[in-house]
């Protein structure tokens, strides 16, 4: 009886019985990217290894295909259909009291995220710098940064103003294995882009801005978001997608295309509409 029921269930299997040629191609490319990464200090290749180290290599396979960008689709964030109803396009400052509450929760999650043996991200949580913080309604976003390797981990958490309650915490990682590159004057770099696919979509991105840039406005489809800019970096999140909606595609090379465009505001008050990101050398 069990065997026949099992066979009937197998006819309902959601997985593809065979890999398509495109999937095989992407699997082969992913394999090459994985073995190009150091497995750890005890397994480093001998000095005679013919492999030439890449200057900028992304730590997460999902993002490895792009040089400067980390594109990541992350399942499972979003507290509910109206969770982001209080979101505002313009960021607000986070009070010291609120910041302490969110920092405690995010740092706890960060340690768990980067120290977990099964995590694809291996960083020293203690070496993270809190690059910036912003509030949009009930949600606070903190951006943790490492400059070498160039990695960003945004932490998005629900924390109503004046409350010590912190929940609905989401985290994603993106970057590269090389050192961070400075953005050119009056320019910017497009950093990691993460889209959380929970009960309500949310996206977050960050990057570097060069001298003279005081504002970054991001257009994500119908949403316009004023990013927080601080000390040479910008970050923003919004309750909507970051990628073109279409047939299921993987992240990374040949994967989903961002829908984002950027306007820069310079310190002399001029704006550069639809500014193009600087590419790393």
């Amino acid at each position: 009886m069990n065997a026949r029921t099992d066979a009937a269930l197998r006819s309902l299997d959601a997985a593809s019985p065979t890999l398509t040629s495109a999937e095989l191609e992407r699997a082969s490319a992913a394999l090459d990217r994985i073995v190009a990464m150091s497995p750890g200090p005890e397994h480093r290749a001998a000095p005679t290894s013919p492999r030439r180290p890449s200057r900028r290599r992304v730590l997460i396979p999902a993002a490895a295909a792009t040089v400067a960008l980390g594109w990541l689709l992350v399942p499972g964030l979003g507290g509910g259909g109206t969770a982001y109803a209080s979101w505002s396009a313009t960021p607000a400052a986070v009070s010291t009291r609120d910041l302490e509450a969110v920092k405690e929760a995010c740092q706890d999650r960060l340690r768990s995220y980067v120290d977990d043996d099964s995590s694809p991200v291996h960083l020293d949580a203690g070496g993270a710098t809190l690059a910036l913080a912003e509030r949009r309604g009930d949600y606070v976003a903190l951006l943790y940064r490492w400059d070498n390797p160039d990695m960003s981990i945004p932490c998005l958490a629900r924390n109503p103003v004046g409350s010590t309650d912190v929940d609905d915490i989401g985290m994603a990682a993106g970057g590269s294995s090389g050192p961070a590159l400075k953005a050119p004057a009056m320019g910017y770099t497009q950093g990691a882009i993460a889209q959380f696919a929970g009960s309500q979509t949310a996206s977050v991105t960050d990057g570097a801005v060069g001298d003279g840039v005081v504002g970054v406005t991001i257009h994500a489809g119908s949403l316009t978001v004023e990013a927080t800019v601080h000390n040479g970096r910008y970050a923003a999140w919004w309750p909507g997608p970051a990628f073109v909606k279409g047939p299921a595609q993987p992240s990374g090379e040949g994967g989903p295309q961002p829908i984002l465009t950027y306007d820069l505001t310079l310190d002399d008050g001029t704006t550069i509409p639809n500014a193009q990101p600087a590419r790393p050398s």
Partner: protein, 185 residues
């Protein structure tokens, strides 16, 4: 396994070739298809770093990789959810072409009831059944994936089977119809 580069890389490439399809299918059953390849790549990156921990036997290696992939999926969840079970998707589509157009509508209905019953199972029941039915693991291997003992897994599997039978019968089709469906399809 205790190998050094480049033997280590050759060993990993062989493991990847043998198991990538199985790991991708494991993930496809548990996450939206648009994320499956990314999660599989994350899992193999972890496996690359922990290759020395890989079991020697082929079936045990699959289970080891499934456990890593499962942890990658749980890591994306929040708080207490990280420790819980993963829902397992089943096909959303209409009955297979072998049944389409046949007069035996009972079998079509039974298939839909089976799918409906599956979706009403708890994530824990779905996971226990899937490891046996879809991933075709032995009890010790499935237990390894879940991080429990083989005895605990067998108990969980038995309860999951009972729950499925109950849910399908609530939906209206005695489970015996599924047996008939299978023998005719």
């Amino acid at each position: 396994m205790n190998t050094l580069t480049p033997e280590r890389e050759a060993c990993f490439r062989a493991l990847y070739a043998d198991t990538y399809g199985d790991v991708l299918r494991f993930v496809q059953r548990r996450v939206h298809p648009s994320h499956a390849e990314d999660v599989a790549a994350d899992a193999f990156l972890v496996a690359w770093r922990r290759l020395d921990d890989a079991p020697r036997r082929s079936g045990d290696r699959r289970a080891w990789l499934f456990g890593i992939a499962r942890n990658c999926l749980l890591n994306t969840r929040r708080g207490q959810e990280r420790q819980s079970a993963l829902a397992v998707r089943i096909a959303e589509s209409a009955p297979p072409s072998s049944l389409a157009g046949t007069p035996d509508s009972d079998l079509v209905t039974a298939r839909l009831d089976l799918a409906s019953g599956w979706r009403r199972l708890s994530e824990s029941d779905q996971e226990a059944l899937a490891l046996s039915v879809f991933e075709e693991l032995t009890s010790p291997q499935a237990a390894q994936v879940l991080g429990i003992t083989a005895a605990a897994y067998r108990l969980r599997l038995m309860r999951a089977r009972r729950a499925l039978r109950r849910e399908v019968e609530v939906a209206g089709s005695p489970l015996s119809v599924h047996v008939q469906m299978e023998t005719q399809s």
